[in-house]
Symmetry: C2
Subunit: 214 residues, 2 copies
Amino acid sequence: MKAEKISEFTTHRLSIYLRCLAALDEEGVETISSKSLAERFNLNSAQIRKDLAYFGQFGVRGVGYPVRDLRRRISNILGLDSLHKVCVIGGGNLGMALAEYGGFLQHGFSVVAVFENSPAKIGTTWRNGVPVVSIGDLKETVRARGIEMAMIAVPAAAAREVCERVFDAGIRAILNFAPVRVVPRPGTKIQSIDLSISLEGLSFFLAGRATGTR
Amino acid sequence: MKAEKISEFTTHRLSIYLRCLAALDEEGVETISSKSLAERFNLNSAQIRKDLAYFGQFGVRGVGYPVRDLRRRISNILGLDSLHKVCVIGGGNLGMALAEYGGFLQHGFSVVAVFENSPAKIGTTWRNGVPVVSIGDLKETVRARGIEMAMIAVPAAAAREVCERVFDAGIRAILNFAPVRVVPRPGTKIQSIDLSISLEGLSFFLAGRATGTR
DNA sequence: TTCTGTGAATACCTTCACAGCG
DNA sequence: CGCTGTGAAGGTATTCACAGAA
Protein backbone atom coordinates (compact mmCIF):
# COMPACT_ATOMS: atom_id res chain seq x y z
CA MET A 1 0.00 0.00 0.00
CA LYS A 2 1.30 3.43 -0.87
CA ALA A 3 1.86 6.14 1.70
CA GLU A 4 -0.64 8.54 0.12
CA LYS A 5 -3.83 9.06 1.92
CA ILE A 6 -6.86 7.53 0.32
CA SER A 7 -9.89 9.69 -0.35
CA GLU A 8 -13.35 8.76 0.83
CA PHE A 9 -14.47 8.74 -2.77
CA THR A 10 -12.10 5.87 -3.36
CA THR A 11 -13.10 3.83 -0.30
CA HIS A 12 -16.75 4.33 -1.11
CA ARG A 13 -16.16 2.94 -4.59
CA LEU A 14 -14.17 0.05 -3.18
CA SER A 15 -17.27 -0.97 -1.25
CA ILE A 16 -19.27 -0.82 -4.44
CA TYR A 17 -16.72 -2.89 -6.34
CA LEU A 18 -16.74 -5.40 -3.53
CA ARG A 19 -20.49 -5.88 -3.78
CA CYS A 20 -20.22 -6.50 -7.47
CA LEU A 21 -17.25 -8.84 -7.11
CA ALA A 22 -19.11 -10.85 -4.49
CA ALA A 23 -21.99 -11.31 -6.91
CA LEU A 24 -19.63 -12.25 -9.74
CA ASP A 25 -17.76 -14.67 -7.54
CA GLU A 26 -21.00 -16.34 -6.53
CA GLU A 27 -21.92 -16.60 -10.20
CA GLY A 28 -18.64 -18.36 -10.81
CA VAL A 29 -17.06 -15.64 -12.93
CA GLU A 30 -13.29 -15.90 -12.61
CA THR A 31 -11.92 -12.82 -14.31
CA ILE A 32 -13.18 -9.33 -14.97
CA SER A 33 -11.69 -6.36 -16.74
CA SER A 34 -11.87 -2.83 -15.40
CA LYS A 35 -13.82 -1.94 -18.51
CA SER A 36 -16.63 -4.42 -17.98
CA LEU A 37 -16.71 -3.65 -14.27
CA ALA A 38 -16.95 0.05 -15.10
CA GLU A 39 -19.92 -0.49 -17.38
CA ARG A 40 -21.96 -1.85 -14.49
CA PHE A 41 -21.86 1.45 -12.63
CA ASN A 42 -21.41 3.68 -15.61
CA LEU A 43 -18.06 4.76 -14.37
CA ASN A 44 -14.73 5.29 -16.06
CA SER A 45 -12.49 2.24 -16.23
CA ALA A 46 -9.36 4.25 -15.46
CA GLN A 47 -11.06 5.28 -12.24
CA ILE A 48 -11.30 1.68 -11.16
CA ARG A 49 -7.72 0.90 -12.10
CA LYS A 50 -6.52 3.98 -10.22
CA ASP A 51 -8.55 3.10 -7.14
CA LEU A 52 -7.07 -0.38 -7.08
CA ALA A 53 -3.55 0.78 -7.88
CA TYR A 54 -3.42 2.69 -4.60
CA PHE A 55 -3.21 -0.66 -2.88
CA GLY A 56 -1.07 -2.74 -5.20
CA GLN A 57 -1.01 -4.40 -8.57
CA PHE A 58 -3.83 -6.87 -8.63
CA GLY A 59 -4.50 -7.25 -12.31
CA VAL A 60 -3.04 -9.28 -15.14
CA ARG A 61 -2.27 -7.31 -18.27
CA GLY A 62 -4.18 -8.46 -21.27
CA VAL A 63 -6.58 -10.39 -19.07
CA GLY A 64 -8.12 -8.39 -16.24
CA TYR A 65 -8.56 -8.98 -12.53
CA PRO A 66 -9.05 -12.39 -10.91
CA VAL A 67 -12.47 -12.04 -9.29
CA ARG A 68 -12.03 -14.13 -6.18
CA ASP A 69 -8.59 -12.82 -5.39
CA LEU A 70 -9.59 -9.20 -5.89
CA ARG A 71 -12.63 -9.75 -3.75
CA ARG A 72 -10.48 -11.06 -0.92
CA ARG A 73 -8.01 -8.24 -1.22
CA ILE A 74 -10.61 -5.48 -1.19
CA SER A 75 -12.28 -7.21 1.71
CA ASN A 76 -8.94 -7.14 3.48
CA ILE A 77 -8.24 -3.51 2.60
CA LEU A 78 -11.59 -2.46 4.01
CA GLY A 79 -10.90 -4.42 7.17
CA LEU A 80 -13.73 -6.83 6.53
CA ASP A 81 -11.89 -10.10 7.12
CA SER A 82 -13.47 -10.50 10.50
CA LEU A 83 -16.90 -9.73 11.86
CA HIS A 84 -17.21 -6.25 13.38
CA LYS A 85 -19.18 -5.79 16.54
CA VAL A 86 -21.41 -2.75 16.52
CA CYS A 87 -23.76 -1.22 19.05
CA VAL A 88 -26.71 1.10 18.71
CA ILE A 89 -27.18 3.99 21.09
CA GLY A 90 -30.82 4.90 21.51
CA GLY A 91 -33.69 2.42 21.62
CA GLY A 92 -36.29 4.48 19.81
CA ASN A 93 -37.80 3.52 16.49
CA LEU A 94 -34.73 4.19 14.43
CA GLY A 95 -32.41 2.53 16.93
CA MET A 96 -34.54 -0.60 17.05
CA ALA A 97 -34.86 -0.68 13.30
CA LEU A 98 -31.08 -0.51 13.01
CA ALA A 99 -30.66 -3.24 15.61
CA GLU A 100 -32.87 -5.50 13.62
CA TYR A 101 -31.76 -4.66 10.12
CA GLY A 102 -30.60 -7.93 8.58
CA GLY A 103 -28.39 -6.34 5.96
CA PHE A 104 -25.58 -5.59 8.39
CA LEU A 105 -24.79 -9.17 9.30
CA GLN A 106 -24.69 -10.03 5.65
CA HIS A 107 -21.90 -7.47 5.21
CA GLY A 108 -19.89 -8.45 8.26
CA PHE A 109 -21.35 -6.24 10.97
CA SER A 110 -23.10 -7.68 13.99
CA VAL A 111 -25.24 -5.54 16.28
CA VAL A 112 -24.57 -6.93 19.76
CA ALA A 113 -26.26 -4.37 22.02
CA VAL A 114 -28.64 -1.43 22.13
CA PHE A 115 -27.93 1.15 24.84
CA GLU A 116 -30.81 3.01 26.41
CA ASN A 117 -31.52 5.26 29.34
CA SER A 118 -35.20 4.48 29.78
CA PRO A 119 -35.56 1.99 32.68
CA ALA A 120 -38.66 0.52 31.04
CA LYS A 121 -36.63 -0.83 28.15
CA ILE A 122 -33.39 -1.76 29.90
CA GLY A 123 -32.99 -5.46 30.51
CA THR A 124 -35.34 -6.50 27.76
CA THR A 125 -34.21 -8.35 24.68
CA TRP A 126 -35.10 -7.24 21.22
CA ARG A 127 -36.71 -9.65 18.78
CA ASN A 128 -33.57 -11.03 17.20
CA GLY A 129 -31.90 -11.44 20.57
CA VAL A 130 -30.12 -8.10 20.87
CA PRO A 131 -30.07 -7.08 24.54
CA VAL A 132 -31.10 -3.58 25.61
CA VAL A 133 -28.49 -2.38 28.09
CA SER A 134 -28.29 0.67 30.32
CA ILE A 135 -26.17 3.43 28.88
CA GLY A 136 -24.49 3.49 32.27
CA ASP A 137 -22.94 0.12 31.45
CA LEU A 138 -21.55 1.33 28.14
CA LYS A 139 -17.89 1.21 29.00
CA GLU A 140 -17.88 -2.25 30.57
CA THR A 141 -20.08 -3.72 27.86
CA VAL A 142 -17.95 -2.26 25.09
CA ARG A 143 -14.85 -3.74 26.67
CA ALA A 144 -16.41 -7.07 27.55
CA ARG A 145 -17.98 -7.64 24.17
CA GLY A 146 -15.30 -6.06 22.00
CA ILE A 147 -17.56 -3.48 20.41
CA GLU A 148 -15.76 -1.34 17.83
CA MET A 149 -18.38 0.97 16.38
CA ALA A 150 -21.49 2.79 17.50
CA MET A 151 -24.55 3.94 15.60
CA ILE A 152 -26.04 7.01 17.27
CA ALA A 153 -29.84 7.15 17.09
CA VAL A 154 -30.70 9.54 19.90
CA PRO A 155 -32.50 12.90 19.77
CA ALA A 156 -30.46 15.82 18.49
CA ALA A 157 -30.18 17.44 21.88
CA ALA A 158 -28.45 14.40 23.39
CA ALA A 159 -26.15 13.54 20.49
CA ARG A 160 -23.08 15.50 21.41
CA GLU A 161 -22.91 14.24 24.95
CA VAL A 162 -23.58 10.68 23.83
CA CYS A 163 -20.70 10.84 21.38
CA GLU A 164 -18.37 11.91 24.18
CA ARG A 165 -19.44 8.94 26.26
CA VAL A 166 -18.95 6.64 23.31
CA PHE A 167 -15.42 7.91 22.78
CA ASP A 168 -14.72 7.64 26.49
CA ALA A 169 -15.79 4.02 26.30
CA GLY A 170 -13.00 3.41 23.79
CA ILE A 171 -14.99 3.36 20.57
CA ARG A 172 -13.24 5.19 17.75
CA ALA A 173 -15.78 5.01 14.92
CA ILE A 174 -19.29 6.45 14.94
CA LEU A 175 -22.15 6.43 12.48
CA ASN A 176 -24.29 9.37 13.57
CA PHE A 177 -27.96 9.68 12.63
CA ALA A 178 -28.71 12.65 14.87
CA PRO A 179 -29.10 15.90 12.93
CA VAL A 180 -26.17 17.52 14.69
CA ARG A 181 -22.62 18.17 13.62
CA VAL A 182 -20.25 16.46 16.02
CA VAL A 183 -16.52 17.03 15.84
CA PRO A 184 -14.47 13.84 16.03
CA ARG A 185 -11.63 13.58 18.51
CA PRO A 186 -8.17 13.05 17.06
CA GLY A 187 -7.84 9.43 16.05
CA THR A 188 -11.58 8.91 15.74
CA LYS A 189 -13.99 9.11 12.85
CA ILE A 190 -17.61 10.18 12.67
CA GLN A 191 -19.73 9.56 9.63
CA SER A 192 -23.05 11.34 9.64
CA ILE A 193 -26.26 10.43 7.90
CA ASP A 194 -28.78 13.23 8.10
CA LEU A 195 -32.11 12.18 6.70
CA SER A 196 -33.67 15.64 6.63
CA ILE A 197 -30.70 17.09 4.78
CA SER A 198 -30.97 14.32 2.21
CA LEU A 199 -34.61 15.18 1.67
CA GLU A 200 -33.72 18.84 1.37
CA GLY A 201 -31.36 17.95 -1.46
CA LEU A 202 -34.29 16.33 -3.24
CA SER A 203 -36.47 19.33 -2.50
CA PHE A 204 -33.89 21.58 -4.14
CA PHE A 205 -33.94 19.38 -7.21
CA LEU A 206 -37.72 19.54 -7.43
CA ALA A 207 -37.75 23.30 -6.84
CA GLY A 208 -35.20 23.78 -9.62
CA ARG A 209 -37.29 21.97 -12.21
CA ALA A 210 -40.39 23.80 -11.13
CA THR A 211 -38.81 27.18 -11.80
CA GLY A 212 -37.65 26.07 -15.21
CA THR A 213 -33.94 25.61 -14.46
CA ARG A 214 -34.24 22.19 -16.02
CA MET B 1 -29.86 33.15 -9.57
CA LYS B 2 -27.02 32.50 -12.00
CA ALA B 3 -27.26 30.07 -14.85
CA GLU B 4 -24.44 27.84 -13.59
CA LYS B 5 -25.43 24.54 -12.19
CA ILE B 6 -25.10 24.18 -8.48
CA SER B 7 -23.11 21.29 -7.06
CA GLU B 8 -24.48 18.94 -4.45
CA PHE B 9 -21.67 20.01 -2.16
CA THR B 10 -23.15 23.48 -2.20
CA THR B 11 -26.76 22.45 -1.62
CA HIS B 12 -25.70 20.17 1.20
CA ARG B 13 -23.95 23.07 2.87
CA LEU B 14 -26.94 25.32 2.32
CA SER B 15 -28.97 22.88 4.41
CA ILE B 16 -26.36 23.09 7.12
CA TYR B 17 -26.32 26.87 7.05
CA LEU B 18 -30.08 26.85 7.24
CA ARG B 19 -30.07 24.79 10.41
CA CYS B 20 -27.65 27.15 12.02
CA LEU B 21 -29.52 30.24 10.87
CA ALA B 22 -32.76 28.85 12.26
CA ALA B 23 -31.10 28.42 15.64
CA LEU B 24 -29.61 31.91 15.50
CA ASP B 25 -32.93 33.41 14.46
CA GLU B 26 -34.66 31.70 17.37
CA GLU B 27 -32.00 33.08 19.67
CA GLY B 28 -32.76 36.54 18.38
CA VAL B 29 -29.43 37.09 16.64
CA GLU B 30 -29.96 39.58 13.81
CA THR B 31 -26.73 39.59 11.86
CA ILE B 32 -23.95 37.10 11.25
CA SER B 33 -20.73 37.29 9.28
CA SER B 34 -19.49 34.54 7.03
CA LYS B 35 -16.47 34.28 9.30
CA SER B 36 -18.37 33.56 12.50
CA LEU B 37 -20.71 31.23 10.64
CA ALA B 38 -17.70 29.41 9.23
CA GLU B 39 -16.20 28.89 12.66
CA ARG B 40 -19.22 26.88 13.74
CA PHE B 41 -18.55 24.17 11.18
CA ASN B 42 -14.84 24.71 10.90
CA LEU B 43 -15.22 25.65 7.31
CA ASN B 44 -13.68 28.39 5.21
CA SER B 45 -15.57 31.67 5.18
CA ALA B 46 -14.97 32.22 1.48
CA GLN B 47 -16.73 28.92 0.92
CA ILE B 48 -19.86 30.25 2.53
CA ARG B 49 -19.74 33.53 0.64
CA LYS B 50 -19.27 31.63 -2.64
CA ASP B 51 -22.12 29.27 -1.88
CA LEU B 52 -24.46 32.16 -1.21
CA ALA B 53 -23.20 34.23 -4.14
CA TYR B 54 -24.51 31.61 -6.57
CA PHE B 55 -27.98 32.78 -5.66
CA GLY B 56 -27.59 36.51 -5.24
CA GLN B 57 -26.07 39.18 -3.07
CA PHE B 58 -27.52 38.72 0.37
CA GLY B 59 -24.91 40.35 2.56
CA VAL B 60 -24.06 43.86 3.66
CA ARG B 61 -20.41 44.79 3.34
CA GLY B 62 -18.77 45.66 6.58
CA VAL B 63 -21.65 44.07 8.50
CA GLY B 64 -22.51 40.56 7.47
CA TYR B 65 -25.73 38.74 6.60
CA PRO B 66 -29.13 39.53 8.10
CA VAL B 67 -30.05 36.27 9.82
CA ARG B 68 -33.79 36.18 9.34
CA ASP B 69 -33.68 37.33 5.74
CA LEU B 70 -30.93 34.87 4.81
CA ARG B 71 -32.83 32.10 6.52
CA ARG B 72 -35.92 32.86 4.45
CA ARG B 73 -33.96 33.05 1.25
CA ILE B 74 -32.13 29.76 1.74
CA SER B 75 -35.39 28.17 2.73
CA ASN B 76 -36.85 29.43 -0.52
CA ILE B 77 -33.86 28.31 -2.59
CA LEU B 78 -34.16 24.80 -1.20
CA GLY B 79 -37.86 24.74 -1.96
CA LEU B 80 -38.81 24.56 1.69
CA ASP B 81 -41.42 27.29 1.79
CA SER B 82 -44.21 24.76 1.82
CA LEU B 83 -44.61 21.38 3.45
CA HIS B 84 -43.53 18.46 1.26
CA LYS B 85 -45.56 15.31 1.24
CA VAL B 86 -43.49 12.16 1.36
CA CYS B 87 -44.32 8.47 1.34
CA VAL B 88 -42.46 5.42 2.50
CA ILE B 89 -42.36 2.26 0.41
CA GLY B 90 -41.93 -0.83 2.54
CA GLY B 91 -43.50 -1.36 5.93
CA GLY B 92 -40.67 -3.29 7.57
CA ASN B 93 -38.72 -2.03 10.53
CA LEU B 94 -36.86 0.65 8.68
CA GLY B 95 -39.93 1.80 6.80
CA MET B 96 -41.96 2.10 9.96
CA ALA B 97 -39.15 3.87 11.77
CA LEU B 98 -38.98 6.37 8.92
CA ALA B 99 -42.75 6.83 8.98
CA GLU B 100 -42.62 7.68 12.63
CA TYR B 101 -39.45 9.75 12.74
CA GLY B 102 -40.43 13.12 14.18
CA GLY B 103 -37.49 14.98 12.73
CA PHE B 104 -38.97 15.14 9.24
CA LEU B 105 -42.00 17.21 10.12
CA GLN B 106 -39.78 19.63 11.96
CA HIS B 107 -37.90 20.22 8.72
CA GLY B 108 -40.94 20.53 6.49
CA PHE B 109 -41.52 16.96 5.34
CA SER B 110 -44.67 15.10 6.20
CA VAL B 111 -44.95 11.33 5.80
CA VAL B 112 -48.51 10.77 4.62
CA ALA B 113 -48.51 7.08 3.68
CA VAL B 114 -46.62 3.82 3.90
CA PHE B 115 -47.03 1.46 0.95
CA GLU B 116 -46.89 -2.27 1.55
CA ASN B 117 -47.65 -5.48 -0.26
CA SER B 118 -48.34 -7.68 2.75
CA PRO B 119 -52.15 -7.99 3.15
CA ALA B 120 -51.73 -8.36 6.91
CA LYS B 121 -50.49 -4.79 7.23
CA ILE B 122 -52.55 -3.07 4.57
CA GLY B 123 -55.42 -1.03 5.93
CA THR B 124 -53.90 -0.57 9.35
CA THR B 125 -52.81 2.77 10.69
CA TRP B 126 -49.40 3.34 12.19
CA ARG B 127 -49.05 4.91 15.62
CA ASN B 128 -48.86 8.51 14.57
CA GLY B 129 -51.75 8.12 12.17
CA VAL B 130 -49.90 7.24 8.98
CA PRO B 131 -52.03 4.83 6.96
CA VAL B 132 -50.55 1.65 5.49
CA VAL B 133 -51.76 1.41 1.92
CA SER B 134 -51.50 -1.32 -0.71
CA ILE B 135 -48.69 -0.72 -3.15
CA GLY B 136 -51.30 -1.40 -5.82
CA ASP B 137 -52.93 1.91 -4.92
CA LEU B 138 -49.69 3.82 -5.29
CA LYS B 139 -50.58 5.85 -8.34
CA GLU B 140 -54.00 6.99 -7.17
CA THR B 141 -52.79 7.76 -3.67
CA VAL B 142 -49.85 9.76 -4.94
CA ARG B 143 -52.12 11.78 -7.14
CA ALA B 144 -54.89 12.19 -4.59
CA ARG B 145 -52.62 13.21 -1.75
CA GLY B 146 -50.05 15.20 -3.72
CA ILE B 147 -47.07 13.07 -2.72
CA GLU B 148 -43.81 14.39 -4.17
CA MET B 149 -41.10 12.12 -2.80
CA ALA B 150 -40.63 8.48 -1.84
CA MET B 151 -38.32 6.81 0.62
CA ILE B 152 -37.56 3.28 -0.48
CA ALA B 153 -37.17 0.83 2.39
CA VAL B 154 -37.72 -2.51 0.68
CA PRO B 155 -35.38 -5.52 0.34
CA ALA B 156 -32.58 -5.14 -2.19
CA ALA B 157 -34.14 -7.61 -4.59
CA ALA B 158 -37.31 -5.56 -4.93
CA ALA B 159 -35.77 -2.10 -5.06
CA ARG B 160 -35.34 -1.67 -8.77
CA GLU B 161 -38.86 -2.65 -9.66
CA VAL B 162 -40.26 -0.53 -6.86
CA CYS B 163 -38.42 2.52 -8.16
CA GLU B 164 -39.95 2.00 -11.58
CA ARG B 165 -43.41 1.90 -10.08
CA VAL B 166 -42.68 5.01 -8.08
CA PHE B 167 -41.60 6.87 -11.19
CA ASP B 168 -44.63 5.59 -13.05
CA ALA B 169 -46.77 7.03 -10.29
CA GLY B 170 -45.37 10.45 -11.10
CA ILE B 171 -42.88 10.85 -8.26
CA ARG B 172 -39.61 12.42 -9.42
CA ALA B 173 -37.47 12.29 -6.28
CA ILE B 174 -36.43 9.18 -4.37
CA LEU B 175 -34.44 8.58 -1.23
CA ASN B 176 -33.28 4.99 -1.55
CA PHE B 177 -32.21 2.89 1.43
CA ALA B 178 -31.95 -0.40 -0.43
CA PRO B 179 -28.35 -1.47 -1.06
CA VAL B 180 -28.76 -1.39 -4.81
CA ARG B 181 -27.65 1.10 -7.42
CA VAL B 182 -30.69 2.38 -9.27
CA VAL B 183 -30.36 4.60 -12.32
CA PRO B 184 -32.67 7.61 -12.29
CA ARG B 185 -34.86 8.37 -15.27
CA PRO B 186 -34.21 11.64 -17.05
CA GLY B 187 -35.78 14.43 -15.03
CA THR B 188 -35.75 12.43 -11.81
CA LYS B 189 -33.34 12.22 -8.93
CA ILE B 190 -32.35 9.35 -6.67
CA GLN B 191 -30.35 9.86 -3.54
CA SER B 192 -29.07 6.70 -1.95
CA ILE B 193 -28.17 5.99 1.63
CA ASP B 194 -26.40 2.68 2.04
CA LEU B 195 -25.90 1.82 5.68
CA SER B 196 -23.51 -1.07 5.13
CA ILE B 197 -21.28 0.98 2.88
CA SER B 198 -21.14 3.70 5.51
CA LEU B 199 -20.04 1.14 8.08
CA GLU B 200 -17.44 -0.18 5.67
CA GLY B 201 -15.97 3.31 5.46
CA LEU B 202 -15.58 3.25 9.22
CA SER B 203 -14.09 -0.22 9.06
CA PHE B 204 -11.47 1.03 6.60
CA PHE B 205 -10.59 3.82 8.98
CA LEU B 206 -10.17 1.40 11.88
CA ALA B 207 -8.16 -1.02 9.76
CA GLY B 208 -5.83 1.79 8.71
CA ARG B 209 -5.01 2.77 12.25
CA ALA B 210 -4.57 -0.82 13.25
CA THR B 211 -1.87 -1.39 10.63
CA GLY B 212 -0.05 1.74 11.72
CA THR B 213 -1.01 4.00 8.81
CA ARG B 214 -2.12 6.49 11.42
C1' DT C 1 -12.47 50.00 9.40
C1' DT C 2 -15.07 45.61 8.65
C1' DC C 3 -16.79 42.31 5.89
C1' DT C 4 -18.76 41.02 1.30
C1' DG C 5 -18.15 39.44 -3.40
C1' DT C 6 -15.01 37.57 -6.57
C1' DG C 7 -10.87 36.75 -9.73
C1' DA C 8 -6.73 34.10 -9.22
C1' DA C 9 -4.31 30.32 -7.17
C1' DT C 10 -4.30 25.97 -5.33
C1' DA C 11 -5.69 21.38 -4.26
C1' DC C 12 -8.10 17.52 -5.43
C1' DC C 13 -10.64 14.20 -8.42
C1' DT C 14 -11.49 12.29 -12.85
C1' DT C 15 -10.50 11.18 -17.52
C1' DC C 16 -7.37 10.63 -21.35
C1' DA C 17 -3.99 8.30 -23.65
C1' DC C 18 -0.34 5.36 -24.08
C1' DA C 19 3.79 2.56 -22.74
C1' DG C 20 4.58 -1.96 -21.52
C1' DC C 21 3.52 -6.63 -20.00
C1' DG C 22 1.26 -11.15 -20.64
C1' DC D 1 -3.44 -8.31 -29.61
C1' DG D 2 -5.98 -6.81 -24.96
C1' DC D 3 -5.77 -4.89 -20.75
C1' DT D 4 -3.28 -3.01 -16.79
C1' DG D 5 -0.80 0.66 -14.58
C1' DT D 6 0.26 5.39 -14.74
C1' DG D 7 1.99 10.14 -16.22
C1' DA D 8 -0.24 14.05 -18.19
C1' DA D 9 -4.33 16.69 -19.10
C1' DG D 10 -8.68 18.31 -17.94
C1' DG D 11 -12.35 19.47 -14.54
C1' DT D 12 -14.22 20.68 -10.32
C1' DA D 13 -14.08 22.26 -5.51
C1' DT D 14 -11.81 24.90 -2.13
C1' DT D 15 -8.92 28.52 -0.43
C1' DC D 16 -6.41 32.81 -0.89
C1' DA D 17 -6.23 37.53 -1.24
C1' DC D 18 -7.89 41.86 -2.29
C1' DA D 19 -10.83 45.51 -4.43
C1' DG D 20 -14.75 47.90 -3.12
C1' DA D 21 -19.13 49.00 -0.57
C1' DA D 22 -21.23 50.38 3.93
